[in-house]
């Protein structure tokens, strides 16, 4: 089986966001594999162990993403590809999907697994966009995956409910929490990862022009959510409290 994982390097979940000159500062920040993509890596390795084949992990991002690829290799993936998008202006989900589509153009693909959403941009778009471009079916937020021949049975999370879907390979799926429990890279795994292939590609290598993949969105402003204000405890008769609450929700919070 030709199993592919699309993976993104993101801020560590424990990092505090600092904005400097209208941008999110990356100074001294620790990076990780996007946690949802970790489920994707784990699922890919399990599929390979069950059905045979090869797991290739692909990322579009800056040069430093090689660390996250090495981690995926240490977990057990076989090969990895880093497509450097440094030259792409205002890269967004459109850009990433387009670049990935160009990469996959000449590949034999059985399944592509990604995370349901990246914890930074949180658009959840790259997976579905890529599937559209490759003209293959996609199923998002999956929590269970069974493959029998080319038949695929999937359970997906729909706002807390479960939807069961049957489809066939090739397919693109995105992983939701609960799909599996990602393994830690074992020490022997880490040592082996060093010797596994990590291919580095530029946009040019994919016969793409930088202009073709320039982002379609513009960021107007970046700001932090307002700091949480001190709470207010209402006092007096219950009826009066309710009235006051309603009036505050109208006048102060402006939510009703």
């Amino acid at each position: 089986m030709n199993i592919y994982v699309i993976l993104k390097r993101t801020f560590d979940t424990e990092e505090k966001i600092v904005i400097e000159n209208g941008k999110i500062s990356e100074d001294g920040v620790e990076f990780i594999i996007n946690p949802y993509d970790e489920y994707a890596v784990e699922e890919a390795i399990k599929l390979r162990d069950e059905h045979g084949g090869e797991v290739t992990v692909v990322t579009v991002g800056e040069e430093e993403s090689d660390k996250q690829l090495r981690t995926a290799l240490a977990m057990g993936a076989d090969k990895s590809v880093l497509i450097d998008d440094e030259d792409v202006e205002d890269g967004d989900q459109f850009s990433t999907a387009k670049i990935l589509a160009a990469y996959f153009e000449d590949k034999e693909v059985d399944i592509i697994i990604g995370g349901n959403v990246a914890i930074d941009g949180a658009s959840g778009q790259v997976g579905p966009r890529l599937a559209e471009l490759l003209d293959i079916p996609h199923v998002t937020t999956i929590t269970k995956l069974e493959i029998d021949g080319t038949n695929v049975k999937i359970e997906r999370d729909v706002e807390g409910d479960v939807e069961v879907i049957e489809t066939s390979l090739p397919v693109l799926v995105t992983a939701q929490q609960g799909l599996n429990e990602p393994r830690y890279p074992s020490l022997p795994g880490i040592m082996k990862a060093k010797k596994k292939p990590l291919e580095e590609l530029e946009i040019d290598d994919l016969d793409l022009d930088e202009d073709e993949v320039e982002g379609k969105t513009r960021t107007l402003e970046v700001y932090l959510p307002p700091e949480k204000q001190a709470g207010k405890v209402l006092e007096g008769e219950l009826d009066d409290q309710v009235k006051e609450l309603v009036s505050l929700l109208r006048s102060e919070a402006k939510v009703i």
């Binding site: 660390k67 040592m191 060093k194």
Partner: protein, 595 residues
């Protein structure tokens, strides 16, 4: 040892008489990607698998400890120091130290881990013969079997060679029959293999590999301890225990070689664990100080809390810098051995023994830094720090044993001047010659003009600390000669001077290396920590020196030496109050130990 090794790796104790280059030392900024990843795996394992079980483990549910060790084995965490041909990973010492550091978060479980991979397995790794290695190491490296180490007896602690356990070859000559009781054996509830010391015919101190299932082997009841409650501690009872004669480890009568070498390793590994624990206690305290509100503001706004945090950070920085510098030296020496030589345990042991002084220094220093840090951590937590549901309460109790086991800090202090003197006598370190040179220099000592470069003052401290060591050690040797060993207070002072000298030098070298690599701006916090630590340490050095001179000399000689000391300790102090506020500001913003 080949000559290439000697050129590359620093000689043990040589820092006292040589100038050391920043580029030649290993610092925690030098971890490579793979080492960081291994540290991360360890940390993830500990935080996600071990920490949630700690309460149960500390209630002596040792089946959990046993399961966790198996899981650790599956991840390769038990094989770091075991050669590949016996199922291990043969990692470099830097990786294995980082793993040890990350394990410290597992509190008492890290003792179970440490006793297994360290003092339990290493005697076989380093001193086992081919059959013994093949028989035991693959299982130990994967966690299929767990190891323990049995040296201490009720009547022999620091005086390890005074052991009373006896081994006698049976009449048919097939088995040693062991009789005696070993005490405070970590992992004893579930260990499968014990390295046991006993005297053959009551005379030849030797090591044996003893399996739990051997006839005549049993363990006593679980001890009730002040701390590290999650590590199993029992006696090992040997009643006509039958040990196949093939299980004699190393040569008969050479057990002390094994014991002392394993102690050296145990000491530096203990120091690495203390570094990890100190960083954790600091982090927990910073977070608490930011959260805890009193007088309508977080207590971290109070400068007295800030002062505590900054001092803890400066000490943690010093201990981390010293310990990893030592790990680096050890790795330099062992890494330079050929693959063939790597297999020779006695060469590996020799490599460690070279740094016996540094191992003792680190053990004493890191365990005392940790004790200070956990003490202040409890203090910052106030009454809550005294409550068991707070992590620091546990850390406080767990910390105390570090100053006692692997050789008490007193024994380790005495070892430092003792070993230095022996090296001087053997001609390995030209200490006496340097001491004589210094005497002449002292007479004509002129204050030096310092540059404006960062660390200029701190480098001066390092230089003068070494001179103060030579001066005090020289005086003591002159005055007491052979009888010096009875002057334990002086010896301990000398050890403290050496220890602080090593610490401030390690801090300065690490900071300097960081400046060289990333520039002074990026190293700002390191520079502040170095300035704080070095000044406060230098004041302690001066106090130890003064006390020693007054004890050794009198009359004119006393006055002369005190005035020489004054010259060596003259400097313009920095405002540490201000510096500590600056350090604390960074800690409180980042909410963790950052340098």
């Amino acid at each position: 040892m080949s000559s290439s090794v000697d050129k590359k790796a620093a000689k043990g104790g040589s820092f006292l008489i040589e100038e050391v280059e920043a580029q030649s030392v290993f610092t925690p900024e030098d971890f490579n990607e793979e080492q960081i990843l291994m540290g991360k795996t360890t940390e993830d394992f500990v935080v996600k698998e071990v920490v949630p079980q700690l309460e149960k483990i500390e209630n002596h549910q040792f089946d959990i400890s046993r399961d966790l060790l198996t899981k650790a084995g599956e991840l390769g965490l038990l094989g770091a120091d075991v050669p590949e041909e016996y199922g291990g990973l043969a990692l470099d010492k830097i990786s294995s130290s980082l793993i040890t550091e990350k394990f410290s978060r597992a509190r008492s479980f890290s003792l179970s881990y440490g006793a297994h991979v360290g003092i339990g397995s290493l005697p076989i790794v380093l001193f086992g013969n081919e059959e013994q290695k093949q028989q035991y190491l693959p299982d130990l490296a994967t966690g299929k079997r767990i190891a323990a180490y049995a040296l201490t007896e009720p009547g022999s602690g620091s005086d390890a060679l005074g052991a009373k356990t006896v081994a006698k070859l049976n009449d048919v000559g097939t088995h040693y029959v062991l009789n005696g009781e070993k005490q405070w054996i970590t992992n004893s509830a579930f260990a499968d293999v014990f390295v046991v010391y006993a005297k053959i015919d009551g005379e030849q101190f030797s090591a044996f590999i003893v399996e739990r299932d051997f006839e005549g082997v049993s363990t006593g009841p679980e001890e009730k301890k002040m701390g590290i409650k999650g590590s199993s501690t029992r006696t090992l009872i040997l009643e006509d225990a039958l040990v196949p004669k093939e299980n004699l480890l190393g040569d008969a009568g050479r057990g002390h070689v094994i014991a002392f070498n394993i102690l050296n390793i145990g000491r530096y590994k203990l120091a690495v664990g203390c570094v990890g624990a100190a960083k954790r206690a600091l982090e927990v305290s910073i977070k608490y100080a930011n959260e805890r509100q009193q007088f309508k503001q977080p207590i971290s706004r109070f400068t007295l809390i800030q002062e505590k945090l900054a001092t803890m950070a400066a000490k943690a920085y010093a201990s981390e810098s010293s310990v990893y510098r030592t790990v680096g030296m050890y790795e330099d020496r062992l890494g330079a051995l050929s693959p063939e030589e790597q297999k020779d345990g006695s060469l590996l042991a020799k490599g460690i023994a070279e740094y016996a002084i540094e191992c003792s220094l680190n053990k004493v220093f890191a365990s005392e830094v940790l004790d200070h840090v956990v003490d202040e951590a409890v203090q910052i937590h106030g009454g809550y720090g005294f409550m068991s549901e707070y992590e620091v309460e546990n850390m406080y109790r767990d910390s105390r044993i570090n100053r006692i086991f692997e050789g008490t800090n007193e024994i380790n202090r005495l070892l430092v001047p003792g070993t230095l003197l022996r090296k001087a006598m053997k001609g390995e370190l030209p200490l006496l010659q340097k001491a004589t040179e210094l005497q002449n220099e002292l007479m004509m000592l002129m204050p030096e003009e310092l540059s404006d470069e960062p660390l200029a003052q701190e480098k001066q401290f390092v230089k003068n600390a070494k001179k103060i060591f030579l001066m005090i050690a020289g005086l003591a040797v002159q005055k007491y000669g052979e009888k010096l060993e009875h002057e334990q207070e002086i010896l301990s002072n000398v050890a403290d001077i050496v220890s602080e000298a090593y610490a401030i030098e390690s801090v300065v070298l690490r900071t300097e290396k960081a400046i060289q690599q990333k520039g002074a701006e990026k190293a700002a916090q390191k520079i502040r920590l170095a300035e704080i630590y070095c000044q406060e340490a230098f004041e302690r050095i001066e106090a130890h020196a003064k006390e020693s001179i007054v004890a050794i000399e009198d009359g004119d000689q006393l006055r002369m030496m005190l005035s020489a000391l004054k010259k060596l300790t003259r400097y313009t102090p920095i405002n540490v109050v201000k510096k500590k506020r600056e350090v604390a500001a960074v800690l409180l913003k980042e909410e963790k130990y950052v340098v």
